[in-house]
């Protein structure tokens, strides 16, 4: 018999970005709220303090800030015929663990998807006809438009504290910003950062080649900043330890710098750490949730936490897993295409070309997670899908993200990978290179999905979740096209040597090298209950008191890093709960 806690109005599963957003917005309504967090509590000091936190071996290589596979992992297969095996060593993607979630260890790239990405299927149908969509590609329109979300993007920009320069301000295109972005109602709350040498060099080349360079929008403070909750950030010092680390300097947008201390002041909010939610409990008729059952690490027992509203705000993979083990939504069957939960899992395609210059010094120890000059000239709304032979888009960018020596030793192709020759290569090339990289969209496909593994279980005896994913020709063709575009920069900049790291035609998904923690889909939004798990307000179809936040809502992945959309959707959901749901709890669609 599980222990039972006193009933709350709201239980929040996972205290990262979306858990914190939902927490503070609903706390303002006076609701009694408890947040359950699997990991430890984390603060700028002492958990992220200098210099202990910027230990690349411990955190960058051994992932001590991340979810450990012994806690939770997935099994992976590339197609329906393979037997999935557990992801036992963290590589391709890095879910977090602890208060603040992945919001503590991200790089700070903060984007809004393009307008066309919200209605992608109709955009393609209207421009080229649906026949250009491959038969197994399951893309759809989002049930919410950019215009509907715009105020919530702006709200998230202000809360997170984003540095940048608007390229499209209320429809007016501004030199120096991204001319291809969707219109913004307000400029970024902080000015853009200065460029490092690589980033400036890329920008000059881009201008010369006729493109439209701009500074990456950064969840990294360029000045001191106070957000609408009164929370504060200090200006970044370009130490280069963002991704995989908590920021010791109050400079990176995170739940810690943007929300948590303000949230903890609400007497009607509390949170428990080392509390891993095992399942969402359903009412007898299955039409609502009654609360959640979690494992209390301290007492080593299961605890039932009753609540009127359940907010699922754990990492995308964990959210989908929790739905599958709780029986929320009909599980998706990739063989038949039936069901919804686990459908449309997608990812991000990335690659890079490194240019080496013998006589130029790049000071690669200077940078920050979102330090880059970017061009969006090959973005979704610039590409002629019909002529190019793929559906998608990507931005190209250059700029040092990290000054971390262990993992930042690029060498020209053909240099030895170990031993004396490798050392000699490092001596010759360290600090003499810049990288131009791609960051591209990934569409949804019938077989790309998440379901429960038939063989492997987690430490609580629950089946692991199984991921079925591989690269498709559509994305690989796009990457080949982008690699060709980068070659124009290579020709223009005339480096002494080059190393190309792009996925080639026929490439298969490899979980070992890090690619991105942009896992999306699985509890996608939809216009109708039969095509997705949640409605436009992130409310679960058929279980109106369960709301699911995060990138699991993405119908297909966008060409951008997900956090901007994740934040906007959370504010959109919070607003709907506050203005429509609380007064009359019911399905909002």
């Amino acid at each position: 018999m599980a222990r039972q806690e006193a009933k709350k109005d709201v239980v929040i599963v996972g205290l990262g970005w979306t858990g914190s957003i939902m927490g503070i917005e609903l706390a303002q309504e006076g609701l009694e709220i408890v947040a359950l967090e699997r990991g430890r509590d984390q603060h700028t000091v002492p958990e992220f303090k200098y210099p202990n936190q910027i230990d690349e071996l411990k955190y960058g290589v051994r992932f001590k800030n991340m979810q450990h596979p012994a806690q939770q992992t997935v099994t992976v297969r590339r197609n329906l015929d393979e037997t999935a095996l557990p992801y036992r060593n963290m590589g391709s993607f890095l879910p977090a663990n602890g208060v603040g979630g992945a919001g503590t260890h991200w790089n700070g790239h903060t984007w809004r998807p393009q307008e066309v990405e919200f209605h992608l299927r109709s955009y393609i149908r209207d421009r080229w006809g649906e026949q250009i969509i491959p038969e197994d590609m399951t893309i759809a329109d989002y049930p919410v438009s950019y215009a509907e979300l715009e105020p919530f993007f702006t709200q998230f920009d202000k809360v997170a504290g984003i540095s940048g320069y608007a390229g499209n301000l209320n429809g007016q295109i501004r030199e120096g910003g991204n001319p291809f972005e969707a219109p913004r109602s307000e400029d970024y709350p902080m000015p853009p950062h200065p460029a490092t040498y690589d980033s400036a060099k890329f920008g000059e080349a881009a201008r010369a080649l006729g493109y439209h360079p701009f500074t990456m929008p950064a969840g990294i403070a360029s000045t001191a900043y106070t957000n609408p909750y009164g929370m504060q950030m200090g200006p970044c010092n370009f130490c280069g330890f963002c991704e995989r680390y908590g920021c010791y300097q109050y400079s990176k947008a995170s739940p810690q710098t943007a929300i948590l201390d303000a949230l903890k002041r609400y007497p009607n909010f509390s949170y428990r750490t080392h509390a891993e939610v095992l399942r969402v409990e359903k009412s007898a008729d299955g039409k609502t949730a009654t609360g959640v059952t979690y494992f209390d690490e301290a007492t080593q027992e299961e605890v039932f936490q009753p609540a009127d509203i359940v907010i699922m705000s754990s990492y995308q993979l964990n959210n989908v897993h929790l739905m599958l083990v709780s029986g929320i939504g009909q599980p998706y069957d990739p063989a038949t295409g039936e069901g919804v939960t686990g459908k449309n899992y997608a990812y991000q395609i990335t690659g890079g070309t490194t240019l080496f210059f013998k006589d130029e010094i790049f000071n690669p120890f200077v940078g920050h997670g979102a330090n880059a000059t970017v061009i969006d000239d090959f973005g979704m709304n610039q590409n002629d899908f019909g002529a190019l032979g793929f559906i998608g888009g990507s931005y190209l960018f250059s700029g040092t993200f990290n000054g971390q020596p262990i993992r930042s030793m690029p060498l020209p192709t053909g240099t030895a990978a170990w031993g004396a020759a490798w050392k000699e290569g490092i001596g010759e090339w360290y600090g003499h290179s810049m990288t131009i990289a791609t960051h591209g969209s990934v569409m949804s496909y019938r077989t790309h999905s998440l379901d429960l593994d038939p063989t492997y279980t987690d430490r609580h005896g629950r089946p692991l979740m199984r991921m079925t994913y591989d690269w498709n020709d559509n994305e690989l063709n796009m990457e080949a096209y982008l690699t060709g575009q980068i070659e124009k920069f290579v020709d223009f900049l005339k480096p002494d040597a080059v190393a190309r790291g792009h996925k080639l035609p026929g490439a298969h998904y490899d979980v070992r090298p890090y690619q991105s923690t942009h896992n999306t889909g699985g509890h996608i939004m939809s216009e109708t209950p039969d095509t997705g798990v949640v409605n436009k307000f992130s409310q679960v179809w058929g279980m109106h008191n369960v709301f699911a936040c995060g990138a699991g809502n993405f119908v297909q992945n966008t060409q951008y890093n997900p956090t901007g959309l994740v934040g906007a959707l959370a504010y959109h959901t919070a607003h709907a709960i506050r203005t429509q749901y609380l007064s009359n709890p019911r399905p909002l669609v």
Binding site: T223, A224, T226, G230, Q232, G234, Y250
Partner: protein, 449 residues
Amino acid sequence: MVTFLRILGGLVILGVLALLAFLFVPVQRTAPTAQLPADWTPAPGQGEYVAIASDCVACHTAPDGQPFAGGRAIVSPMGTIWSTNITADKETGIGNWTLDDFRAAMVDGVTPDGTHLYPAMPYENYRLMTEEDIRALYDYLMHELPAVHAAAPKTELTFPFNLRFGIRAWNWLALSHGAGFKPEGRSELEDRGQYLVEGPAHCAACHSPRTRFMSQDGILATDRSFLTGGVIDGWNAPALRGPESAPQKWTLDELATYLATGRNAHSTANGEMGLVVEHSLQYLTDRDNLAIAAFLKGIDGAAVEVPETFAAITGAQPPAEADAAGAETERLLTEASPDMPLGARLYLDNCSACHFVTGKGAPGIFPELQANELVTGSETKPLISIILNGAEVQGTQKRPMNLVMQGYADRLTDGDVAELANFLRTAWGNDAAPVTSADVAKVRAEGVH
């Protein structure tokens, strides 16, 4: 000879009589400064607000203790003074006190049995409070606040400080000013500020110097030494007036922001002032914090312009550039020559990321080190302690973030800390006397508290 002996004898008798009178004739209680109608009652919340503005909690609530139940140790040079239970409990608190008894404690520093309070209780300042506020506070303590049965430890100082009648003589010196508030009449808001500063908030208790008898030198706005700076428990309480006063250089908005949030574009409230913000000032109305700021800005006669609000959400706030006084240090740090002094190098490696080569920090979050009295003060323990142990500025309603600076005790030796402190005390035009490794060792040995 006989005459001389007679005179001497007479003097001895007179002296003995005077001493007996001094010891046994009861102290005259000061009369109320206003006659309120018998049915006068405070406005709802008034008494609690007076308790907050007077920062009673600072002494009368022990760490993790029941509110106002006393038992907090106040360390003084004479020994430990234990704060008393001021809840309405009849045995251990003040439940048997009449309003006149209570007023006598606030105004004259005596308890109902005639015992003199130690002047850790700032009756030098509280005696300026209005009769309305004293009554509202009494009403709150007697009728609103839950009574707590808890005997606070008895204060037992060593000889001669255990002889409380000595305080009677001290009071003749310290209480030369009459009871009740006399506004200067500058403006309604500044008068309100003057009242709070002089009376309940008892700012002079720390920010005025002390006479050689340890009474406050400067209690009223009209006193020359009023708020010209003092020392409290090893912390410099900066001058709040005069050309050398750092807070006087802040805008009125910045001053009010500091009071309400413990931080502003220049500085943070640490140590004793941090506690004042935490327990008292953050809970004052915006108007009262503006009033205090307006009074202080106008204290030397300047005209003040009062903004509508303060600490409004301001979004981006770029850090300040170095000024002329800081230019040379900025150049030294920017050039970062390998042969620069150790203190400067330690600053670059450990401090400059937040406080910058300009020493100007970043507005609202990382305090200025240039012309910061915590850095340059006569009292060096706070600076050393913050380098070693870090510091925390508690979140407040307007600025909820707990701003924590980490400590460097595990990273810097005593010698390093001394070098670093001495760099800070002479950088950007700062000009303060050096500290030694021995000073650092002493602070390190004391640990965090």
